[in-house]
Subunit: 480 residues, 3 copies
């Protein structure tokens, strides 16, 4: 599962080794069919730097029919370059091509200052990455542009790994973010990206370089806020449950129920947090609607926290799904747990002497809350599947909105009903209120029920028509 792709490119025989490793080019390029020299594309590419990336990139370019020339400080010492490529000094190499790929570290950029005149008008592609986010004051590409003022600097390829280029397996993104101040140069670079099977994306001027350089250093930035929210609620609910189910019996009757923390308490925390997170997915949309109603216009920005909240709704929903999944499997194993089996045995044995009548009421209650929960889980899974990029990419907007909004609310209603019916008559049953604290599931219902009530208010015809009007561009205070 680690690094080789289902993708067909991985089948090719030149796919090489592990991603942590890069073998010598002159070994691995053996079986790559190169063009006979006479039929090469006229276009030449010059690469500065014979490190892993420089070599992989050059090898790939050769495969695609380009002439490749390496620029090196010691042209004769470089024996790592792929077969078919020339190695020249920096000055000579520049003359051979109008495009120079700069596969060297930022620290070694200074020597380019001396080549300023030769680089005049050339396309200089910065592929470098940093080790930390915002490591330097300005981006590598902007720094390069300030050094070599005559060249047209383009930032590109920094998200592509040497190993991916070499082995043909592109598990992670195939997208090449391109930015630069000169449009023609960007076009040239984007064509090269397309030629080697990558997807270029124009990101605007060199001002975007910083962002592009930070990109490969990001670790799930969109998931951070949802993870914090989720962790916060998880700890809170866990402590609440531990208080009422472990500390309370220990304090009041010296009973040791610590073994509940392995499954019983988690299986209370998972559904509660899942339900709260699912409600939080739909809350910002409702807040936005009320805000628009209050302001009487859609043409004013939302507060920043609301924007951020709205942007992480998908992630919130997926975390909620993960917890719902855990709740489901933790529930399926209930009957095989020793603890459950022992207590159920005692209950059975008790009935040998004092029979308990079958209660149709309880049969209804138990079956309906289980059924509601499973239907909720089913729609949860459905929502998750339609969130997969390749699935959501195959539906149109109307369908996407139908699934995520209509089915989403249906899921929320089912899961809230599941919890309400689970509560049943326990809501008012005294013994469940330990130290006057309501059981955890009562607490968990506050947000979902509020969301459903508020949503219900927004679909009251008079409010609904007003919101629709506002969203179509109508303004209360508009004059023109």
């Amino acid at each position: 599962m680690e690094d080789v792709n289902l993708d067909d490119t991985s089948r090719r025989k030149n796919a090489v080794a592990a991603y942590v490793l890069d073998n010598k080019m002159d070994n691995s390029s053996k079986d790559i069919p190169l063009y006979p020299t006479e039929i090469r594309k006229c276009e030449s590419i010059c690469i500065f730097g014979t490190g892993d990336f420089g070599r992989s990139f050059g090898s790939k370019m050769l495969q695609c029919g380009y002439n490749v020339v390496y620029g090196s400080r010691n042209p004769h010492a470089s024996n790592l370059t792929p077969k078919g490529a020339k190695v020249l000094s920096h000055e000579e190499a520049i003359k051979e091509s109008s495009i120079i790929i700069l596969a060297i570290h930022r620290e070694h950029y200074d020597f380019l200052e001396q080549l300023n005149s030769q680089l005049e008008g050339k396309v200089l592609v910065d592929v470098s990455n940093n080790l930390k986010m915002n490591q330097f004051e300005n981006s590598n590409a902007e720094y390069l542009a300030s050094l070599v003022t005559g060249a047209k600097v383009v930032k590109a390829f920094n998200t592509i790994s040497a190993w991916a280029l070499q082995s043909g397996t592109l598990d992670a993104s195939r997208q090449v973010f391109v930015c630069g101040n000169d449009v023609k140069s960007k076009d040239v670079v984007m064509d090269i990206a397309r030629a080697i099977g990558l997807t270029p994306l124009d990101q605007g001027s060199l001002l975007s370089a910083n962002e592009i350089e930070n990109y490969p250093l990001q670790l799930f930035p969109m998931w951070r806020l949802p993870m914090y929210i989720c962790t916060g609620f998880t700890i809170l609910i866990f402590l609440y449950c531990a208080l009422t189910e472990v500390i309370y019996p220990f304090a009041t009757s010296n009973e040791n129920t610590l073994y509940l923390v392995a499954i019983s308490i988690p299986n209370r925390v998972f559904p509660i947090v899942s339900l709260i997170l699912l409600a939080l997915v739909y809350l910002p949309g409702i807040i936005a609607a009320f805000l628009q109603l209050y302001r009487g216009t859609k043409y004013s920005r939302f507060p920043d926290w609301l924007d951020k909240w709205m942007l992480c709704r998908k992630q919130l929903g997926l975390v909620a799904l993960a917890y719902a999944f855990l709740h489901a499997i933790y529930t399926f194993v209930i009957p095989i747990r020793y603890y459950v089996r022992w207590w159920s045995d005692q209950y059975t044995i008790k009935q040998v002497t004092t029979p308990i009548a079958f209660s149709s009421h309880y049969a209804w209650l138990s079956d309906s809350y289980v059924a509601l929960g499973m239907l909720g889980f089913f729609f949860y899974i459905l929502l998750g599947i339609t969130s997969l990029p390749s699935v959501s990419n195959a539906v149109n907007w109307r369908e996407f909105r139908f699934v995520q909004s209509k089915l989403g609310y249906l899921t929320l209603v089912l899961c809230t009903a599941h919890t309400l019916v689970y509560g049943g008559d326990r809501f008012i049953y005294g013994p469940f209120y330990k130290w006057f604290l309501p059981p955890a599931f009562v607490v968990s219902l506050i947000i979902p029920c509020s969301v459903l009530v508020l949503k219900f208010i927004t679909i009251i015809p008079c409010l609904d028509s007003r919101i629709t009007k506002i969203r179509q561009g109508w303004e209360r205070n508009a004059k023109s």
Copy 2:
């Protein structure tokens, strides 16, 4: 889960707000790096209309280095246009560009008639959508072409939402359907689509405009037939089970078993409908084979109902999988239901006084039908995973056919065997035939068993070789 994509584009800081909302451009475009004026692409784009789509589109075009000129009735009143764009009168704006994006409603097209001479030879891109399918007699694009006879009308971008363009999150389709009578104009428009990261698809002449305009209004058209079939069978089987399990005991012994409708009866309906639907996936292929055998040629069209049936096989299969999934989870929770626990307790208590011997036969029967069901479910899931667009896109035709045909039939065989073994000796056991009706699972086996028998006939060597010959183009009555 609602509207923000896993996709990396969503990480960018200019991703804005909720999809239901569009903020003022002059706010949100603040942090989009625009080109300094001198380095813009020479190409200019003219946009008529400063509504949500016009503004989002213009903003995106500016980002990609185009000159953007808005045509407006009141050029001075428009303060909603993105920074960097010019706003002129319609007549002046036309002069600035050879491409005009028409981001206005069909009702306001008439004013273009007066501009007919200025629009001569220009590319006029119709991005409009209607509110209902086939709302007008002819498509908006064709209507436009009839108004402005000199311009080259191209239909495009109507499937793309303003919000998607603005926020960079493209959850739903990135595909741009393009049609038009002039090939060069279409090429220009397709290039623009590519420039902003979308995937253009040539749909032929302007005759396709109607279809393209209907597309974003569709709500899962391919799922309609399977959903009808599925709903029909679900209601039918549900009523059948309710008759034998709720009404029968009530009528004959006044026993109230209404609580069975929550889980017990659904868990009978789900597997039965799932099995029938799975069989229906494979039935049309067999009918087609027999039809070809009978006709002695593949070169004659199938009846319409067969064509339609064949086209919805994937959807039928996925609905069958959904029901199989529901059956699985409804089965996993059996032991935690009050109803089941109570009866199992009674059974245990009875054994205290009258021990029941262990039956190796029942252990075999119970274990095998459960094992068959789970293996069937496993292959069901496997089929479902290979139906995901991104997975099926990574296999070649031989592999795809292997999975969907070989593994599909294996699943059908396993699930049919699961039902047969579940039936066990109950097929002939009198008390199960209430009011002379066979138990539901007996009814459910009719279609799957027929499909398997028919399939078995088609793979008899003499028939199989004949079908293969026919499918390779051989004709019984061919003369040439």
Copy 3:
């Protein structure tokens, strides 16, 4: 589930029939909007061969605005060609276009030798496939190039099926592998591929033709090795379990426990093989690290077996996940099995007379091994989801490596701990050692524990820093 795609293209009304079938073009092309003759693209395409592929391809080209000319031996006899296409003799057809699509079988190539002079300088596209892998000594395309020495032969489109072209449903790969010795000709062919909505991929010179021709005949080549490994372990562990749980009780106490082979023994085999396979996913990375440490350089090739092993890690992991999934569902159904219910009843009945006290220790043990197993399963599923092409394509390298390496090891640790705690005090409990054989789960722990220990060694700071240095290009024996 068989052949129709979620994809929007499938919605179009010209999607036709079943993939096993190709109807006559003059029927199905009725509703495809064609260009009026005067607005066609100037470019003409010549197609030799009016078989299924030739007709589908021509029809698609017509839709996209190309002129299509068929070359045929009997131009007047061909009534199967799509409407709008001309049918001429081979000689005349060649004159009309600079591109000839050769949709005929290799056996019929010889007649082209006579057309050698007319074909001089033309682009000749070979779309043929063979029936077996490496059927001929040289590839069809190379054979063609040797016959028609003056033409520029390009291999392409052989992975695309006629049915897919015709119906618009492209369930299997949309990728067109293109190879050829002339770069310009390849560019022309790649443009055609793009025009009909396919994704061309340059595969280098004509030397790659053999590989490209073998591609559609492959049947999951990357899955072969993992399947062999998995089958081997499955049989081995199955026999081992059968020996200790079926043959042993039969031999020693004449007890018939054969019914265990349906669920009990598989549910022992699945988790054991799953755990071993998961460990095998991470073992090659560790071996590679030690090899690099020993050699003191990363610049030397790994042995072939290690390379192959590394390339199938993803598949190994997915098979491990499949087995883990089977283990999970086989575990969920435990309480509904007759065998389990009977024994648990006996146990309950025994307690009526001789009560057994609740053991907090067992409650802990049982709950923790179940909890560890479920958490392990949860992360397993997470790894599986991130292996989906569309998901792994949406993350950057750092994120991909984080998930597959960090989460992967976490899964391995959880699953190993699950097995260890499951073992509990049974490791040293005599009766479990039948015929001096340790229980199967003890055997299963050997590889996972070794992998974890070795991994632990490599992250000891002094070794870890050395490995990092080597992977950054440092060499122990380097001089320069």
